[in-house]
Amino acid sequence: MTRSFMGLRSVIAGAALIAATVSWAVEAAADIKIGSVLAVTGRASFLGDPEDKTLRMYVERINAAGGLLGQKIELVVYDSAGDAAKARTFATRLIEEDGIIAMVGGSSTGETMAMIPLFEEAKIPFISLAGGIVIIEPVKPYTFKTPHTDRMACQKIYGDMTARGISKIGLISGSGGFGKSMRKQCLSAAKANGIEVLADETYGPKDNDMTPQLTNIRNTAGVQAVLNPGFGQGPAIVTANFKQLSIDVPLYQSHGVASRKYIELAGDASEGVRLPASALLVAENLPDDDPQKSIVVNYKKAYEAKWNEPVSTFGGHAYDGLFILAEAIKRANSLEPGKIRDEIENTKGFMGTAGLVNMSASDHLGLDLTAFRMLEIAKGEWTLVK
């Protein structure tokens, strides 16, 4: 009897718990509802976590300063754990249940692509925080994004190579999502930028020795530089192997390694490595007359003071998305999703952490190559390439 009773009691307790959470969720209603679906946990949490923190911090600040159009913002964030199917359900929930007027979110390209049809159908503006070029190409009326594309990173690198008189390169890329996407973009952008790819090697995300691939590249005649698109520890190992093999050409990394971790992992071998990155990384080192300086320095200081962890470019994408939206709402002077959409598309001269944004009906990203800064690692620090 006791056992059975305890079992029953636990069931009742569980039911009560669920009922309590439901009634909680129904409560609270605010004036301006902005939605977000982010990979706060899971493998892509390095994207979603800083995005979530950034959004919450700045919504708090906007509200403390009186909100938008005299109304407070309520931010609704759901955690997709990086899963496209979950993201899709949460997007439905934001549209149908929460009644949001705009969306800033979607940490990865997969999640974003799964959610786009819903927002397009509901005619609610959606500012994505993911990298893939497919999000805005072809242009979809209600979909925008803030991060630069992989193709732009390739173009920036090729531009720097051309300036140094390099035209023949070897490519070694990781086979994770990021490395794969960027390899594809770099290969297809090569010709138009006057670059010839002589060697094309790949490695797995968990490989811990890339000497064979690099030896192949070294033995390829005519290679003037090596480019390594990849993410995580792979590029650090490539950098170390590159030094061990004393390959005597410049090494280029991608924006995928733009974090302190990379310099720590690669150590001395990272000396002289060049990569394109957001201005956020070198915020304090920017010249004072740089129009982006105050934006990135303020964001960096605010984020690091509040969360006590180093700022990341991914959080910066969320900052840009939120403020592009906030300014569009102010200009529209209305909470009608259609009017907000029009004003997002009219965004001109917005300075964000990723660079200067000028959107148009045919460009829902609005960044140009100046968004990237070419950095070189010198004495274990990022320095701007003049």
């Binding site: 305890m6 569980g14 959470t21 439905t92 996407s181």
Partner: protein
């Protein structure tokens, strides 16, 4: 009256009644979406429960079959111009054949070894789907065409609700029939003791393989439906975590109870939606609820509750 107490008639009627009444209670498309996801997961779980609950064989790779079905429905129409409905059938046949080929060697294994072998199979499928970028779009996934039947494009949550509801009802009916057939009895026999079953003339190898293939085909069909419904898929649907989720649904709902599995799928699909109020503690809350359930309702939600009710009545 006695027939109504039988799961094959009574249980099926209850399920049909729930499916028929639910649309009148759901306020908007979001709830429909959650219920459709429950239905898709339940379809896989009904199949998987035959394997785990009745035949007593574990599979940690069923999301692989789900993913293959989903990608068959995505890739065949997009890259080879095969009509979506034919792709769904081809996918199911392909997965069935694959299950025969893989099942033969790995079903010889038992316990932990079988778990690891099926796990490996699931991981291989996941890697295949994420690495064949030109075909599958790689880790970023790919869009799926709408399902057209007789020139009519299936669209909207209401249409999909009835499709998934119908599929679940049919799947459950088939599973219940199988359980009550000689095959079903043979399966339960080999669950209790393989040697005893063999001595009594049960062809153990063939029966294990049959149920493995059936459950794989269930997963493949559910995968195809899910792909067409959501219109976009990523290799995550074939991933290890999804496999674990499916097994958890079977165990939480009740191994060897077809309707229990459906309850398990419903709880585990819908619960995270309620738990979002806990924000970052959501996963901890989910884990806690599951632990409490498994400690106090050891046979799974439905069988334990039913047992308690019977016990009180007598």
């Amino acid at each position: 009256m006695a027939a109504l107490r039988q799961p094959r008639t009574g249980g099926l009627l209850v399920l049909a009644a729930i499916i028929a009444v639910l649309p009148f209670l759901l306020p908007n498309a979001y709830y429909f979406d959650v219920v459709i996801l429950v239905g898709i997961n339940a379809l896989v779980v009904v199949g998987l429960n035959l394997l785990i609950g009745y035949a007593g064989q574990i599979s940690l790779g069923h999301a692989g079959f789900f993913g293959l079905g989903a990608y068959a429905s995505a890739v065949l129409p997009a890259r080879f111009d095969i009509p979506p409905l034919a792709a769904l059938v081809l996918g199911a046949i392909g997965v069935g054949l694959l299950a025969v080929v893989i099942g033969r060697p790995i079903l010889r294994l038992k316990g932990h070894y079988l778990a690891v072998a099926t796990l490996g199979m699931g991981l291989l499928i996941f890697m295949l789907l994420s690495n064949e970028q030109d075909l599958t779009g790689g880790p970023d996934g790919m869009a799926v065409q709408r399902l057209t039947i007789l020139g009519y494009k299936l669209h909207g949550v209401h249409t999909w609700y009835w499709i998934v509801g119908g599929a679940l009802l049919t799947g459950t009916w088939l599973a219940l029939n199988l359980i009550d057939s000689p095959t079903g009895r043979a399966l339960r026999a080999l669950h209790d003791s393989e040697i005893a079953a063999q001595v009594n003339g049960v062809d153990v190898v063939r029966h294990k393989l049959t149920v493995f293939v059936i459950s794989a085909v269930f997963a493949s069909l559910a995968g195809s439906l899910s792909a067409h419904y959501s219109g976009f898929i990523t290799p995550n649907s074939a991933g290890f975590l999804h496999s674990i989720e499916l097994v958890t649904m079977v165990v939480l709902g009740g191994m060897g109870s077809t309707f229990g599995g459906i309850v398990g799928a419903a709880v585990l699909t819908a619960l995270p939606q309620f738990l979002t109020v806990f924000h970052e503690y959501e996963h901890a809350a989910l884990g806690l609820i599951m632990m409490v359930c498994m400690i106090y309702l050891r046979d799974g939600l439905l069988p334990s509750l039913r047992q308690r009710l019977h016990w009180r009545r007598s």
